[in-house]
Each structure stands twice: as C-alpha cells, then as structure tokens.
Amino acid sequence: MEEKMLMKGNEAIGEAAIRAGCHFYFGYPITPQSELTAYMAKKLLKMKDAVFVQAESEIAAINMVYGAASTGVRAMTSSSSPGISLKQEGISYIACAELPCVIVNMQRGGPGLGSIQPGQADYFQATKGGGHGDYHLIVLAPSSVQELVDLTMDAFDLADKYTNPAMILGDGLIGQMMEAVEFKERKKINLPDKEGWTLTGCKGREKKYIVPFNLDPYEMEKLNLKIQEKYNKLKEKEVRYETVNLDNADLIIVAYGIVARIAKTVMSNAKKEGINIGLIRPITLFPFPEKIIAETSEKVNKFLVVEMSMGQMVEDVKLAVNGKAEVNFYGRVGGVIPTQSEILTEIKKYLK
C-alpha cells in the first residue's frame, strides 16, 4: 500500500529506517539533524524489541552500532559534520570488521564547529574513507525528501549486501525541509545470509570472533585486498546518477544533493536566455559515476562543478574527465547556499 505524507527530511529518514527493519538506533544530539534522533526516540521507545539509546557521545554511539551490528541486526546512527568526525574511528573499525550499518550525515558548514547551516564540505571525508586505513563507505546523496526515504532503505540493503557501512550524505537544508513523501511497497530482494558472521553465542557450533586487526602483515594485506574486491564490485554494479539534457548542452553542471536542485532551476532560467545546460547528478558518491562523466566529456567540452565546499567533488570530476574537457568550479561554503543567479552568472563567464 502506498501512503503519502508531508514530512521533514530528518523525520523521513527515521521513518524509512524503521520501515527498512532498523529497530536499533544509537545517537547523540547535534544540529541540524536532532529531529532524526528525536523521531527515533519517539518511535523506538514504544516498539517491542526495539532499542533507542542516547549515547554519551558520538564516539560511544558508533561503537554501540558496532556491537549491535555484530549480532546481525540492522543498526543506525546519525549526526552532523563535527559529530561525524568523532565517529571516524568507529567507522574504520566497522569497515575493517566488515559489518553492515547505516550512518547519516546531515552536513553543516565547517571546518571546526563551523556553522549550523547546510554544507557539503564533508565530501572528502565521506567518500575517501574518513578514518584511518584503506576503506570506503557506500555513500548515497539524496536531493529530495522522497529520495531520503528511498535511499535510506536502499542503504540498509546495500550495507547488508556488501557487509560494509553505508552513509546517507545529506545536508542541513534537506534535513530541515518538508515535502510530500510516499512509502512505496518495496520489492523483496535477496540478501546474503548473515549467519556466517553474526555473534549469537556459540551454542551448537564453534566460537566465532570479530577482530578488526591482524598483526601478521601478510594476513592484514589479504584482508585489505578482500575489502578492495568489494569496492571494485560496487564500482561495477552499484553506480547511480541522474542525467538531464546531456545532448547538445553547451555546458554540463555536475552537482549533488540540494545543489543539484538549484542547478535544475538554473537550467530552466538559462534556457529562457537561450543557453543550453545539462546536468549530471551523482546519486552514489562512492562508487562515483565516473563513466558517464567521462563519456559526456567526449561530447561537451565545458563542465561546471557546483558544491557547497571549496572544491572537493570537482577533483573526482577532473579525474573522470581526464583532461578531455574544461572543468570549472563554483562553490559557496560555511553554510552559504549558492543562488541560481550566482550560478548562472558563473556559467555565462565560461560561455563567452
């Protein structure tokens, strides 16, 4: 059955997570994602066999997720930029232990305590590992409240499928805004059995252990290679993106999340002035949609990457374009959202 509701982004994530079978939430308040923590408290504390813990810190929260995930349940934590920095140690352990879980980052302006307005300056942290060691998260970047719902549910499936932590990388704006959302009936997908690795007590079997280390460097290298294999598979099978008006475009905007929505307004306004703009919107930031960007750079020779950062995703775009087109960048930071008119002015600079 389909239900349509008007929901705030942060609360929509919570509802989506619960409907995806995540009944274990561990969090710590931080603006601008606190509504999600509050939503989980309101719902889970009333549910049978569900757990909500307000942890003493973000560090504790991610480690509670680590513990809960080791028993095979779907577990989640959420925070915003400074809090996500605190979680990095735990995330690295979870990635090394190959446990599934979902982490939500509703980014705000940084660095430091930064601001409480939306930002996208955690792109490097989210997509390149974030903590120590060679690992990646599966990073999903929603650009509407509906997509927050759909991608949150997908994040749990992908995390289970690849036994790897997945991150919803939103921003303070998308978390705070209200839109109509539908909780669609989802088709059942086959996910790998968790029994092989879950800790349940050793009744009727040999003991199992989860240890995110190996002091034998050759064994540790093997573990790294095994994890890398998963990332290769992700790159091959799970890349997602949206494209708009790529054919005959004078310039391609590459933007994700809320900025991609602003870019769509830019496109229609530009059209009125006779400027033809295309858009590539990465939905998975890891794995990054490099192929479509590379292919497009064969046909269109001007790119503009727009981010709420000093230029982070633009590096991945440049790697994908590999010198075949001109890649420009426009960014606003610290919690400032770029306006469509600023972006259009920027575009005109490059189309002179």
Binding site: S70, Y209, I210, V211
Partner: protein, 248 residues
C-alpha cells in the same frame, strides 16, 4: 583419584601470550570458570580491548569481538541491547578503561547496562611498553613518568571502583587482587557475584582486579606480587563497594 583442578571449558587450549608471571592468565581463568559454573558459555559474547589482552579473543572459548581502545563498554551496550538474553562481558585494562574510555565506562555504568566488566588495574600501560596509566601510583616510575608520577602535573591515581560505586545504575562493584591464593579465591567469588548479578538482570557489575605487570615494573613475578601488596593495596583497598542485597 579424581581430577580436582583443570583448565575450564571456557578457555581454549591455546597457551597464553602474556609474559611470565603476568596476572592476565589468572584473571582469564577465573572469568572462564565463572562462565563454566553458571553454564552460560554458549550464550556469552565477550568484548576484548586494545592492549595486551587484545588477544583474549583467542583464549576465551566463546563468541568474542574486539573493540577500539576504551570503547568496549559502548560495544557491549550495543550487543546486550540487541541480544538481551546473552551474557556480555568486557575485559579491559587501566589505560583502556580509566583513561581513554572514561566516558564509556561511566555512562555504561550509569545507564545500568546489564553487563559485567572485568577491569585489570596493574598501574601501567603494558603493551605499549610501560607508560604511565591513570592508575599509576604517586611517585611510581614509568616510561612517561621517568622521575616518578608527580601529582602536581600528572594528577592522582584514579580509584575506579570507588568512583563508579557512587552511580545509582551500578549493581555490583568490588576490588580484588591476585597476588596470593587467598586473594585469588576471593577474586573468584567476586567474579561469580558479578556474573550472577548480570544473570539475574540486576544491572551493571564490575570487578577491579589489582594485577602485576612484572615486565614493565622491572620486577620478578614474586617481587611484583610483593610490590602489589605493599604499594597498591594500601592505596586501592580491597573489598566490595556496592552489592545488591540479593546477590551474596
């Protein structure tokens, strides 16, 4: 003749990797005996720390997970909340529990998480090579207090059992030592009470175990036992600090 003493089932046959005379082995055995005696091995999940006992996952014959330094109580919270019928214990050293993991241990105790914490206090960091721990005694020489711990700049040794026993969520706390058979027998009783408290759902339990680190103290195992009794016990008195009436 009947066998009256043997290695408990909850220990694997793997020889311990600890230094000669180190008390970790005794503590491991006592925990394993308690798991055997309560018949809970098959539903136990242990959380090992970072430090010398990071290898505890090899030695305990039950499901085990390794936590990041100091985070074992948070990991144990996640496990116990997800599987309330399991028996969950953490095994932590003094650097792990009383330094980097103070927030986790205080709040896990304060929430009254129904888990058991085995806390090894040997007044020094073992695995990293003998640095000052939060429990290092005043005047004690370590790699990072080479002129002795000076409380003016390094603070005083933390009394974990006393500190945590002020928290309402705590069901059972005691401090024991392992330097002679009489103490070991008492330690065994305390560990049993701690697990019993968990099995009966009474809430958070912790046993602080005064232990030796002969290697980093620069003493023979026998001298180390003597040093523990002469220096640690006067500062860290043995005994029960909190007991639920029903657990006795």
């Amino acid at each position: 003749m009947k066998k009256v003493f043997e290695s408990p089932k909850s220990l694997t046959k793997d020889p311990f990797t600890y230094c000669p005379g180190c008390h970790h082995g005794i503590a491991h055995r006592l925990v394993a005996e308690a798991l055997d005696e309560f018949g809970v091995r098959e539903k136990t999940i242990g959380v090992c720390p970072v430090g010398c006992s990071v290898f505890a996952y090899v030695f305990f014959d039950c499901d085990m997970i390794c936590a990041a330094h100091g985070r074992a109580p948070a990991v144990a919270t996640g496990i116990k909340r997800a599987k309330p019928d399991s028996i969950v214990f953490t095994y932590q050293g003094d650097g792990d529990l009383a330094s980097i993991g103070t927030a986790e241990i205080v709040h896990t105790a304060n929430r009254g998480e129904n888990i058991t914490v085995i806390f090894i206090n040997n007044a020094i960091y073992g695995m990293t090579g003998g640095q000052m721990a939060p429990t290092t005694l005043v005047g004690q020489v370590t790699q990072t207090s080479p002129y002795g711990r000076d409380p003016k700049t390094m603070g005083y040794p933390i009394k974990v059992a006393e500190m945590l026993s002020t928290l309402k969520g705590v069901a059972y706390i005691s401090r024991v030592a392992l330097s002679k058979p009489a103490y070991i027998l008492k330690a065994k009783k305390a560990i049993r009470k701690a697990f019993q408290s968990q099995i009966e759902g009474k809430g958070f339990s912790l046993v602080e175990i005064l232990s030796t680190c002969p290697t980093n103290w620069g003493l023979s195992p026998i001298e180390a036992n003597k040093w523990l009794e002469e220096n640690m016990i006067p500062y860290y008195p043995l005994g029960e600090f909190k007991t639920p009436e029903e657990v006795s």
